[in-house]
Structure formats: C-alpha cells, structure tokens
C-alpha cells in the first residue's frame, strides 16, 4: 500500500496536467470545433479527411527523411567524437574536450536555428559569400527557399552535430567498457575501424537505443524548427505533420481536425517506440546472448 501512496504525487500531477488535456484532445478530434464557438460531433470525419489532405504525402515523406537523417547523425558524429576523445591519453585533455563540447547547450535552440538561417544560408550568408569569393555567383541561391536544396539545408543545420550532451552519453558507454575487453579484442587481431565496429559499437548499443527513441519522439513531435526556418515551404516541400497540425489548430481555426492529426502522431510515436523497445537489442541483451 505504501508503494501506491508514494506514487500518488506522480500520478496526481500526470492526471491533472497531462491526462485531462490529452483526453480532451482525443474527444475533440471527433468534433468540428473552433475555440470560442459551438462544437459539432462528426465522428471519424476528421480522420478520414486527413487521409485525403493535400499535405499528407509530402509531410510524411519529409518526416521519414528527417527521422532517418536524424538517426544517422545521432548514431555517428557524437559517437565518433566520443571515441576520439576517449582515445586520448591525457585525462586533463579528455576532460577539457568534454566540457567544451558541452557548452553549446546553453544557447537557446531558437537562437541556434536563427543563426543558421541568417549566417549560413542567408543571401549574404557563409555559403553564398563563399561561392561569390570563388566567382560562382551562378550557384548562389536561397538555400532554404530553393525547392532543390531546402531539405538538405535543413538537415545539415547543426553540422558537425557535435554540441551537446550526446557525446557525453556515448563517452559514458565507452568508459564502461573494461580494459580487458579491449585487450582481448587486440589479441584477436581486431584493430582500428574493425575493432571500433566489433567491440565499441555493440557496447554502446544501450545508449544508441535510448538516443534512437528520443530522436524519433523529438522528430515526430517537432515542428518548431520548420516553423522558424521555412514554415514548411517552399510550397509544401518541407511540411511536416506537426506543423500542419499547428496551423490547423491556430491559423485555420480547425481545432478538431488538428486534434485528429495529433492523435495520429501520438499513435505513430507509440508504435515506433514499442517496435524499438522490442526489436532493438541493447548491450545487455547482446551480452546475454553472447553468454
């Protein structure tokens, strides 16, 4: 009984501030509703309409691309950097690098986006100025408004994907690998890249798994980036479901429709996370299998 009592604050807070609004949103998804006006029950019409929505295809395509790219970067850059730091001999240097790579997290995310938008991709940003320097004016463009470049421009924001906590998370995984494992591997003749792939990577699988889940959740829910950078344009080339939901809720006054999109996104995230939990093997699982 004491156990349940100790859990009360958690569940009370969740019930009041998260569950009630969520249930309200699910209920609203069955109504034609705009804030401040009467609601009209329309059953599953909102859901049905979304499947013929003009933005459906492009926004889910973009979402898949963004998630895939996000996963690719979160699994590579920080891990490689962590490995590089880890392989330094001086403890002082390792500490210093970890601190330095951590500092950028104090910069507000919005600021980061605006910096890239103006400084790198702007008309007189870094990329265009560089091209002009080499006399290639013809190649300059609005990187975030040209249909051909916009998606790539967006995913490369944050390059080299180094700032923040991810490096530390991988570093923790690497630090947990005991020296005996390394020695054993070296006796087996594993070196360099092969050793990295066969020894290090499996041992940070737990970290990769967590970051995968967090990246998927963040990407599917996220829309602020697109909102600030392109508003989903040009056309609907960078539209994502979250942004379309936001626009329907607030710009188009279609709260019910927006809620239906939101519920679909929730189910998508839930499904992906369960798949991830089930089929993605953590390092503990790998170790258990090996034994």
């Amino acid at each position: 009984m004491a156990m349940y009592a100790m859990l009360t604050p958690t569940f009370l807070l969740l019930a009041v501030f998260s569950l009630v609004p969520f249930v309200w949103a699910i209920a609203t998804s069955f109504f034609d509703y705009e804030v401040g006006a009467e609601a009209k029950f329309i059953g599953l019409s909102n859901y049905a309409e979304y499947f013929t929505d003009p933005t459906l295809l492009s926004s889910f395509g973009n979402l898949a691309f963004l998630t895939a790219f996000g996963l690719a970067t979160v699994m590579t850059a920080p891990l490689i950097i962590a490995k590089l730091i880890f392989s330094l001999r001086s403890e002082r240097a390792r500490y210093l690098y970890r601190v330095l790579f951590l500092i950028p997290i104090v910069v507000p995310g919005v600021a980061g986006l605006m910096i890239w938008q103006g400084m790198i991709y702007g008309d007189s940003g870094f990329l265009n100025e560089l091209l002009r320097l080499f006399g290639r004016d013809d190649l300059t463009r609005g990187w975030l408004s040209d249909p051909q470049t916009v998606l790539w421009a967006i995913v490369f924001i944050g390059f080299p994907f180094a700032g923040g906590i991810n490096i530390l998370i991988y570093y923790a995984g690497l630090a947990n690998i005991s020296d005996s494992v390394h020695e054993a591997a070296e006796l087996d003749g594993a070196r360099g890249i092969r050793k990295f792939l066969s020894v290090d990577v499996p041992l940070v699988m737990s970290q990769i798994k967590l970051l995968t889940i967090l990246t998927v959740i963040g990407t599917v829910q996220g829309f602020e980036g697109m909102f600030i950078l392109t508003k989903g344009g040009p056309g609907f080339n960078t539209m994502v479901p979250g942004l379309w939901m936001y626009m329907n809720a607030f710009s188009f006054q279609r709260m019910g429709y927006a809620c239906a999109i939101g519920v679909i996104l929730f189910l998508l995230i839930l499904g992906l996370t369960i798949l991830n939990m089930k089929y993605f093997r953590s390092s503990e699982d790998l170790r258990a299998e090996a034994a």
């Binding site: 958690t10 240097a93 507000p108 923790a172 995984g173 809720a249 709260m255 929730f266």
Partner: protein
Amino acid sequence: MKAARRRRELAIHAILIGILILTFLPLAFVLNSSFRTNSEMNHSFFGVPKAAVQAAEITGQKLQGKSRFEVANSSEKGAGVESLDFGDAIRKVGSQLVQGYAYAWEVLRPYTLNTIFVCLATVFGVVLVGSVSAYVFSQCRFPGKGTLFMAVLAFMMIPGVLTLVPSFLWVKQLGLLNSHWVLILPYIAGGQVFAIFLFKSFFDGLPRELFESARMDGAGHLTLYRNLVLPLSKPVIAVVAIVNILGTWNNFLWPFITNSDAKYHVVSSGLYLMGQSTVAANRATMFAAYVLASIPLLILFLYATKPFMAGVTSGAFKA
C-alpha cells in the same frame, strides 16, 4: 612506436579542434553581431563592430598626443558630430557599442528573477517527485508495476501542440492563470517523466546487496531513500536538474500564453516577444538578448559541470 603514437594523438587533437571551431563559429558570429548595427550588417555581413574600431582609433590618436576627438551622435544620417575629450569620446563610443545590450537588458531584466524562481521550484519538485517514484519502480515489488511504469513513459509521446489549447483552457478553469503555479505545476508534471526514467535506470544499476543488507538491518523505505539512495544519487540529480533547467529556461510558448500579466513573464517569453515585435528588426538587440539569456546558464554550468558529467557517465542514459 612512441613517435607513431604521438602523431596519432596530434591528429586526434587536430580533428577535435577543427570540429570545435565549426561548432563555435556560429556562436562567435552571434557575439560579434550583437555589437553591430543593422546598417553595418547590411554593408558587410562579416566584419568587426564599427564602434569597436572607432574606440581603437581614438585610443591610437590619444597615444599620438591628440586631445579632442570627433564622435558622431549616432550612427544615423544627419546626426551631428561632437568634439569631445578622451574620456567622453570613449564613453560615447562605448555606449554605441553596447546599445543592443542596453535594450535587451531593459526588456529581460524584470523577468530574470521570475525565471530563476520558476526554475528552482520546478527542479526541486521534479527531483523530489521523480526520485521517490523511481525508487518505488526500481526497488519495490507490487502488482501492476510494469504497466504503471509504461503508462508514465507513454506521457513522453503526447505531442505538445496537441495539448496546448486543452491545457490552457483547463488551467484557466482551475484558476491558475497569471501565477507562478501555472508554470511550476505543469512543468513538474511533464518534467518528472524523463526524470523517473533516468532515476530508475540509475537505481537499477546500484548493487542489489546494498539495499538487501540495509533492509536486513530493519531500515524502512524512508530511511533507505534518505540515507542510502539520496546520497548516492548526487550525480544523477545534477543531470536531472540541468536537463530540467534547460527545458524550463527555453520554454516560451506556455509561459507566454498563460501569463498575460507582465509581472509573471519569464526570460524565454521575453525573448519570444522581442522576436515577434518591431524590435526584431534590430538584429543586434536580438543577438544581444540571446547572449544575455545564455549567461545565467553558463554560470550554472561553470559550477555544475563536474557532477553533471559524473551523472551522465554514471550510466543512467541507456535503454
């Protein structure tokens, strides 16, 4: 062998420093631009702040023995030029240099205390509620445990935009609008979820024998929690605290719509407001505001880096 090893170390340093430069370049640009006016940026996107150049020139002329200095009243066309002595000239140029900061500070200053209070209260709540629940999920056996834990985690998957309006209408009914509580309570409710996850991973990793031997000595849950779990959890508490402070510090939409009374505004909503208002045209002011808003976090980091890194390295971040 030794030389090869040395070369390898140097190569790694070179790569890491290269990546660091790429990472910090945009930030350096923000810092530089926060001292430049719009019209300066229009004419050359890259460049040193004009006012700084002028200050250097004045100092140079002073060293050559000049005593009067011509300084424009402002950077605008038709603004008069004044002839000043060295101190006044430097002061004037200096105030032109930090103009963006002056305006940004004016906007953000009244909100800073609110933000600090909200952050501290939220962190306290999240750590307390989160660690207690995580302790129960990690160390106790009771029916429905797995389901309840998954139910808690499922709350991470609800898109924030979906519940924005319902949450707003709901806290309005609860009568919480325009107070600190309208921020603190939902932040604790939302922030505790990831905290429970982290705390639980951490507690799961603690040696079982510790708990068993303590329980053999007849310690109850409260004693265990207070005397064993909390002292051991310092690093992971640091992680939870910092992750939460970052989230709270950067969240702008919720504080903005729930607190229309400027008395309760926080820094992030101040930033958001600046970005939306006519001031947004003043890029220097915006950049200065970003720099200012980052300073408290930077100070926090100066002191929390050690436990934070220990916490992340403690192995709580895995699934």
